[in-house]
Amino acid sequence: MSALQLDRAPSTPANLLVRGAHVVDPRAGLDGETDVLVRDGRVAELGQGLDAPEGVEVVDAGGLHALPAFIDPHVHLRTPGREDEEDVDSGTRAAAAGGYCAILGMPNTDPVVDSAPVLRSLRERARSEARIPTGFVAAITRGQRGDELTEMAELAAAGAAGFSDDGLPVRSAGVMRQALQYQKLMGRPLALHEEDPSLSGPGVMHEGEMSALLGLDGIPSVSESTMVARDCELALYEGGRIHVQHVSARETVTALERARELGTVVTSEATPHHLLLTDEAVRSLDTNAKMNPPLRTEADRQALIAALRSGVIDCIATDHAPHSREEKEQPFELAPMGVTGLETAFAALHTGLVLSGELELGVLVERMTAGGEPFGIPAPSLAPGAAANLCLVDLAAEWEVGGAGYESRSANCAFAGRVLTGRVRMTVAGGAVAYRERSFALGAVA
């Protein structure tokens, strides 16, 4: 697969000396205190007690951790169409504040990103607004209606990162097979929202004891796992490559393991909310616990954590899905599915999995930086020579989600009101400073 060209607003290459941070980058074999010198947007040198050359800003990072910045392959920027909920500027600002150096936008906008002109205009917009390098995934089928393929070769030539009907499954096995056949021509991955509509029916939450108690229609786990099994079989048969989005059920993990044993080329992602919350969060009928796929049970959550550890789940994706307040302030059954997640992903997972001892920090860093690989975006590295993609985090800082508002235009965060431990202070994305926490920037000057 050819390397992917991402878009961002004009930026100035960074010249920084990050002093005193504890650097964690498992891929580069780094885990210890060392200075990081960034020159002209690239990691120039690592070492103890480095001197600051002239024109280089010194960032006092004592007590902080320096990590390779994160990549999110699954973001809804709501542009074009619902710029009141999110736009390229606000969405990438939220991503930078969450420690991300690159994101991929999903095509379920209005209009759908299903033709080269729409994709080109979005890319143009990103070149004037995006705070961090941003790519766009185009639709598999026209209008995401599931019947006719988009002009995938032209879209790929116009810079589509991959193809997805996210938000909706590709219902027809025949259409999915044709997309996999066509993949030989356009060479980009198919990212799949896996769900059988005839099993999900009118469901609004996980089918189980909680849905029985609440009298809500359930979405059974097999709605997801049967489609994953189907598409893995098709991908194996056609020699294609698929990426399974937002894995939520333990049955799906089993299907992925089996497919890999058979040699299927399949990658997958899981979201922070599925890794940290269960359908217990729906008990209060809080609409910020409503998303698709739904929050499932503790057994599912544990299966996802184990799969994240083992690598069956390759990466973390937020499925950042902004919705307006009036849409979420409705009875649970009427409220739209989806939650925001860019600004809280690292802090929530650090609090919920690393501090609890369920996941090593190094593994979390690997999974949060791996999201671009299925799409031809290499994982960021802090090794000398690499483009500077790093974030500085304070692993001891506690903060209340939403307490000081959000960078995102929307506030429908599944972790709203929770106190999390771990705060991103600064993000360097694609060689340029993309985010600095205000208090941290002031501290650096003093």
Binding site: S284, E329, Q330, F332, E333, G402, A416, R418
Partner: protein, 317 residues
Amino acid sequence: MRRHLLSVDDVSREDIERILGRAESFAEVSGREIKKVPTLRGRTVINLFYEASTRTSSSFELAAKRLSADLVSVKSSGSSVEKGESLKDTVQTLSAYDPAAIVIRSPHAGAAALVARWTPASVINAGDGKHEHPTQALLDLYTLRRRVGSLEGLSVWIVGDVLHSRVARSGILAFTRMGCDVTVCGPPTLIPRGIESLGCEVRYTLDGLGEADVVYALRMQHERMKGNFVPSLREYAAQYQIDGRRLGAAQLLMHPGPVNRGVELSAEVIDSPQALITEQVESGVVVRMAVLYELLAGRGAPAAVPAPDETIAPQPA
């Protein structure tokens, strides 16, 4: 007892005993020529109904009037709901009239709990989607207790479309809370997965029906046919209809109404002396009087409407 009645979970066994006892004393008032008491004089009750209802809405109206409350009934048709006003705006508008209670019926689960976040009034759930219908459960308990005395140890079979039934959900919680053993029975397509966690047994045939002291039949809605939940009403009736052959002489029969004659119940059992169906309707008024009394009597004037920001305070997920 809490400020609202949103779920059977909001009332303890002691609360239930007290409400049923008070309903008994209101029943005595209902036997008089003048059926009114002055308890809620000067207080306002708003009935906000987003769904068609005969029994529940009229019995709440009568209950409020017999307690001398001022009553406003708002139905979704003919109101600004039809103009697209959101539930939140409607509730905040009605709250400006300073009601003591809002009685809400909605096709959506959790609507009553949402209303309770947006109004300083006491909120009574008169049915929210397929979730709960707590006053129905209370009047069922009241009706049954009037007939048999103690509910402890009774075997109650709830038969039919449990999946789509708020009456079933509130009933399971309420009957078990009062010491009954509850069994739900119906076609596997209409029994929700995980319902045992509410504390009931699950059966798919009427084979063991003989063990029941009380058979509580649910309404089989015609619109369920299109969802392919049962192949035909004929097949449903053949498998699950409570008729003269299946209902034992010592068993009592209940139904929340309206009945589909010849579907879930045969005509002979509806009109039999074992049926408590008419008594259930009668009980509706006094039990709802007791609920209004429980929530409103003795409580001072409500606080001012909270500031908009307070009403939407984020809840921990």
